[in-house]
């Protein structure tokens, strides 16, 4: 019975999180480098809110003092002031909008840089244990969510508060009694808004879940279209989809209802306020307590008052969503790599390629040992082949030597220094790995060989291209070595990809070469090219090869046969064949035919 893993996946459907002061403070700390800009933006918002309130304040002066008194020059002055404030307000508003975006973008950039740098430096175990898609989301979408908080969010929230304060100030200085009457609708507005927000928010949450459900249904039935068709389930599937689609539509219609009610209600409240102003204020006009101009400006104030109140409640929602994202981001930032560099590292400059495995034990998961008491030593310039069935522990040896993982027990030394005393990067710069699954980056052939390393000269690249027999292929391309490589090299053949990865290793001219030979079959011509290239690759350096080719094995100084995490046999090809042990069987299984054909 095979071991089956049952994984319960957590739902990542976070809809928002209550305000967490610690999280919020940590989020705020990213504002620090931009203190000045933020201070400036805050001053600007206060100015704008003041200016916005000034205009309605000027209207009564224009009408009551100037027009009523037929003071044309006076009117002109007021008009000029009005125009001036208008233009000023526009200009400041523009600067403010841009400045807040600028601050937001800068902080997002800083944060993204930090998260990416942190993640890429985490060790392989982390990448093996976390789905790549999720990590990508942290760096991209999750950070994007924070943009609104960092840009307009907080600064404009200030602005909204100030606008409300200014308007209140002007209203009360004009006429406090009329102000109180006008503001009597305010509690209703606040209440209506909060009810609306609450409903819309939960409705949106439901819509989001339904959209996700619908999308995953579509996705699943596109991926599984063959099953649907082979089992003649098209009709049923469409029916099922229609049900899900219907739920989605109905929920959307519900949210239409909220909007359809809310906007007329807000307008109605506005009208009630205006009605109160006319009715109560009008009465005061008769008693000559209030002027007509004051009434007009109060009508204008009411209109200006409603927007910031609505905006503020929206800001709170944004902040809640941001909390959920930032929690995930900070969680990633708090991850520590279990493979750490020593405090006082030994320089790894004089590595020649003497490697020693001493009683190495290793388990990826606690007691489940993949390597059991493995010891061997490799001398400078030696070529060692590892042979064994899948799961014997061959790749684990590579992982340990490069310190992608640290040994559980025992030690590995290079030039008699425990590799845990080197900086990981120093150690690795002496090693080049050619993996079975060739990974190519999007770019061109050249950038896939030098991997952007400026220290590798064009001459070196040309030489490694020639030595790996890649030159014929490159010369056949119109763009030559600048030939574009798609994501993962999808347009290249398996053989071409392998040769490129060989050229990559050659160009880096490592002291220690690790080669995980690919098993995939290629045509005879390419096979010959690859065999030739491997010869060049391992020439004159310590090489560790997980071999699948007889020709490679035969050219090795020593063969180590691994079986279920233990070393079973060690020796040269001839010695091991004479032994008639495990190697002999493996040889018959994997290499005999090749031998016959050759």
């Amino acid at each position: 019975m095979s071991v089956h893993k049952i994984k319960y996946k957590k739902e990542e459907e976070a809809l928002g999180k209550a305000l967490d002061s610690q999280l919020f403070r940590r989020l705020l700390s990213y504002f620090k480098p931009y203190k000045l800009q933020i201070a400036f933006a805050t001053i600007l918002t206060i100015t704008i809110s003041a200016l916005a309130a000034v205009r309605p304040r000027l209207t009564p002066i224009a009408i009551d003092d100037k027009i009523a008194n037929k003071d044309l020059p006076g009117l002109q002055i007021i008009i000029i002031i009005l125009l001036g404030t208008l233009v000023l307000q526009g200009a400041i508003q523009y600067i403010m909008a841009y400045l807040t975006s600028w601050i937001g973008q800068k902080i997002i950039y800083d944060l993204r840089k930090k998260v990416f740098e942190h993640t890429i430096n985490l060790n392989l175990k982390f990448f093996d244990n976390n789905p790549i898609g999720r990590l990508v989301t942290r760096v991209t979408n999750d950070i994007e969510v924070l943009y609104e908080v960092f840009s307009s969010g907080l600064v404009t929230a200030f602005g909204d508060i100030f606008t409300i304060i200014w308007i209140l100030y002007f209203m009360f200085t004009l006429d406090w009694k009329l102000s109180l009457v006008t503001l009597s609708v305010l509690p209703i507005l606040v209440y209506a808004t909060s009810v609306f927000r609450k409903n819309v928010r939960s409705s949106y949450a439901r819509i989001r879940i339904l959209v996700a459900k619908m999308n995953s249904y579509i996705q699943e039935h596109i991926t599984g279209i063959s099953i649907v068709q082979l089992f003649v389930r098209e009709k049923k599937t469409v029916e099922e989809f229609e049900k899900i689609n219907r739920d989605h539509t109905e929920e959307n219609k519900k949210s239409i209802f909220y909007y359809a009610v809310f906007f007329p209600v807000v307008e109605l409240l506005g009208a009630v306020a205006v009605g109160l102003i006319i009715w109560y204020g009008g009465g005061q006009v008769f008693s000559s307590y209030i002027s007509v101009g004051v009434i007009i400006s109060f009508i204008q104030f009411t209109e200006m008052f409603f927007r910031p109140i609505r905006d503020l409640s929206e800001k709170y929602n944004i902040l809640q969503t941001a909390m959920a994202s930032s929690e995930r981001i900070f969680d990633l930032l708090d991850r520590k790599s279990p493979v750490v560099d020593p405090e006082y590292p030994v320089p790894a400059k004089d590595v020649k390629g003497n490697i020693d495995f001493k009683n190495v034990w290793f388990a990826y998961n606690e007691e489940d040992f993949v390597l059991k008491n493995v010891s061997f030593c490799i001398k400078e310039g030696e070529r060692i082949a590892f042979v064994g069935a899948t799961g014997a522990g061959k790749s684990t040896i590579i992982n340990l030597l490069c310190r992608f993982y640290d040994v559980t027990k025992g030690s590995i030394t290079v030039e008699n220094t425990d590799i845990r005393n080197f900086n990981q990067q120093d150690l690795r710069s002496n090693i080049a790995i050619v993996l079975q699954d060739v990974f190519l980056f999007s770019g061109d052939i050249k950038s896939n060989i030098d991997l952007g390393n400026d220290l590798i000269s064009n001459a070196t690249i040309d030489e490694s291209v020639r030595n790996t027999g890649l030159d014929d292929f490159i010369n056949s391309l119109p763009e030559g070595i600048s030939h574009k490589v798609n994501e993962r090299g999808s347009t290249l053949s398996v053989g071409q990809k392998q040769l490129i990865s060989f050229a990559r290793a050659l160009a880096y001219n490592p002291k220690i070469l690790i080669l995980d030979e690919a098993t995939s079959s290629v045509d005879t011509e390419t096979e010959l090219l690859i065999q030739e290239a491997i010869k060049k690759l391992i020439e004159g350096r310590t090489s560790i090869i997980i071999a699948h080719r007889l020709s490679t094995i035969q050219s090795c100084d020593k063969i180590i046969v691994l079986h279920k995490g233990e070393i079973k046999e060690m020796g040269t090809h001839q010695q091991l064949l004479e032994n008639q042990g495990l190697y002999y069987k493996l040889y018959q299984l994997q290499y005999k035919e090749e031998f016959k054909n050759a």
Partner: protein, 582 residues
């Protein structure tokens, strides 16, 4: 605009709702246009000192107008916007239903991501045009007309002067929107470039770490991230215009009215109330002017989106169904005799024949084993029988009838196939097994026992009600394969096809399942593809495929005697077993 024509039939279905919506929006606009008149009169009366009772009436009147206007606005949303949601629903249903009809070839050429984008983003863009797009254009046109009439009737001269800035608003909004859209597309591109970069770096982390390229990749990422920031700031510069622009221009109109109107008041040809009216009406015009520019940008987005949707909706299903006009064979009446006559196949747009003139007879009720290297054409061969693809040359007969003349549904109903990659839906195990037909617990238990799945399922707390996939549990490869086998048997097909369906099951479990399956295969034609001799050795006939040609054929013992490809594979597998025993 021509791309939007396919929407007409959809609109027609909801014509009464849309018509009512037009009516409601007209009434609400009309009422709202009256509102400033009331306020203007109220203020004039304040100045001429009319009685208090009248003022109370004005207050009530203004609230009443907004109340009724708001009610009709409510009705508008309940009709037009609801209709747009209904059309979205219909469109998505039709789109999805059409997808179900398209053949494998279509899916080989399209990425899932693209199709998802059509089903979500594109349809959303069309919906935005149908709902808010139509509602706001009606509002805009009506409100503009009514307001203009009123303004001109109050004072034509002031009206002309005051309206000068308004067309500029529309134009500005339109051009800012257009540029904003262009720039936001660029932001999106930069974002996806960044995502690709991160994705690639994390996927290729082994290479990066072993060649010590972390620093370089961080620099590269920062460059891309900086470019993304740059594109965002370019967008922000454009977006920053929108807000000041809006009130700058309305503010301008209001100032114009106060100044010129004020002069007229001084001359005595205009009242202060008139100024108030103008101010409110101009405020009412601003929004339609903004909406106008917005509607245009909605159309610009909807048209290409609809074009992309139409392209897929008009794609013909490649596999032609004979339907009822064909030969009268049903899933029940098919016996299961299969014959391939000179069958050749190549995938469209390729030049290599995957199968070359294959002749093969599978008697009803017999078992055929297929073995061969990857790429030898095994899976292609069995996919031709349920017509996942149609043969390029030659013909395939079932019970002597060309399968292209049998109703597609009946043909497929008669075949139970277990594909190479076991695809299960995120649903309960029971629903996955009883994928065709009614759920019968008894039968589910029965088939899962036969597929060697029963014991495993019983270990789950929810048993057969366990949900699979993203929201549930992940089955092991072997469990998936066995579920997939159970699903195929549940169908009770006349023809059972197993495409390398036991590869993830260990040999002892395999032997158990094969023993059970032997019962199932009685009376059914079975085709089994496998890399393992142990799976095939009891078949009545075994073929060895190589490069699209049948190289060897016969029963297990015959093939061993032949000492050819089959024999070699057999010997190797014996050795493998031996090594494992060590």
């Amino acid at each position: 605009m021509r791309d939007l024509i396919p929407l007409f039939p959809y609109l027609k279905k909801y014509k009464s709702k849309i018509f009512l919506g037009f009516l409601f929006v007209s009434v609400s606009i009309f009422l709202q246009s009256l509102y400033p008149l009331v306020i203007g009169n109220a203020i004039d009366d304040l100045i001429s000192k009319a009685n208090e009772e009248l003022l109370f009436k004005y207050a009530l009147l203004s609230v009443g107008i907004i109340l009724t206007g708001g009610f009709f606005l409510f009705l508008t949303r309940r009709t037009i916007i609801v209709a747009s949601r209904e059309i979205e629903n219909d469109l998505r249903n039709d789109f999805f239903a059409h997808l179900q009809k398209l053949p494998k070839n279509f899916y080989n050429e399209k990425t899932t991501g693209d199709l998802m984008a059509h089903a979500t983003n594109d349809i959303n863009n069309v919906r935005n045009f149908l709902g808010p797009g139509i509602m706001y254009s009606v509002q805009t046109v009506l409100r503009t007309i009514i307001t203009l009439i009123i303004l001109f009737s109050i004072n034509a001269e002031i009206a002309v002067i005051a309206l000068v800035p308004l067309p500029f608003i529309s134009y500005l909004v339109y051009s800012v929107m257009k540029r904003t859209y262009g720039r936001s597309m660029k932001v999106q591109e930069a974002f996806s470039a960044m995502t690709t970069k991160v994705q690639e770096n994390f996927a290729g982390i082994r290479v990066i770490k072993s060649y010590v390229r972390e620093k370089f990749e961080i620099e590269q990422f920062n460059k891309i991230s900086a470019d993304y920031q740059k594109k965002n700031l370019a967008l922000a510069r454009m977006q920053a215009y929108s807000f000041p622009m809006m009130f700058l221009l309305t503010g301008l109109s209001i100032i114009i009215v106060i100044y010129f109107g004020g002069m007229k008041v001084i001359n005595g040809t205009f009242t202060v109330g008139n100024i108030a009216e103008f101010v409110v009406y101009l405020g009412q015009l601003t929004f339609p002017m903004i909406a106008f520019g917005w509607v245009i940008s909605l159309v610009q987005r909807a048209a290409p989106a609809m074009k992309r949707i139409s392209t897929i909706m008009t794609t013909e299903p490649g596999i032609k169904d004979a339907g009822k006009s064909g030969i009268n064979l049903t899933a029940e009446s098919i016996r299961g005799e299969i014959e391939l006559r000179k069958v050749s196949f190549r995938y469209p747009k390729t030049e290599i024949d995957i199968l070359r003139k294959v002749d093969l007879k599978i008697p009803a009720g017999s078992t055929l084993g297929i073995i061969g290297y990857t790429g030898s054409g095994k899976s292609t061969l069995i996919n031709l029988i349920p017509r996942v693809f149609d043969v390029t040359e030659g013909e395939i007969l079932i019970d002597g009838a060309d399968i292209r003349k049998i109703s597609l549904n009946e043909l497929r109903k008669s075949i139970g196939i277990v594909p190479q990659e076991s695809f299960l839906f995120s649903d309960t195990i029971a629903n996955n097994i009883a994928y065709t037909g009614e759920i019968s617990e008894e039968r589910i238990t029965d088939v899962s026992k036969k597929a060697g799945l029963y014991k495993d399922v019983n270990l789950f707390p929810e048993k057969f009600r366990t949900i699979l996939g993203e929201r549930g549990i992940t089955l092991s490869g072997g469990q998936k394969q066995r579920t997939s086998i159970a699903r195929a048997i549940y169908k009770e097909p006349k023809i059972l096809i197993l495409d390398d369906s036991l590869s993830a099951v260990d040999t002892s479990t395999e032997a158990e399942i094969l023993k059970e399956l032997k019962e199932v295969m009685k009376g059914r034609t079975s085709i089994i593809i496998s890399h393992r001799i142990s799976t095939l050795q009891n078949a009545d006939n075994i073929i060895v495929l190589d490069g699209g040609i049948i190289k060897e054929q016969g029963a297990h013992n015959d093939l061993i005697k032949l000492e050819g490809i089959y024999y070699n594979i057999y010997m190797k597998q014996l050795l493998e077993e031996e090594i494992k025993e060590i």
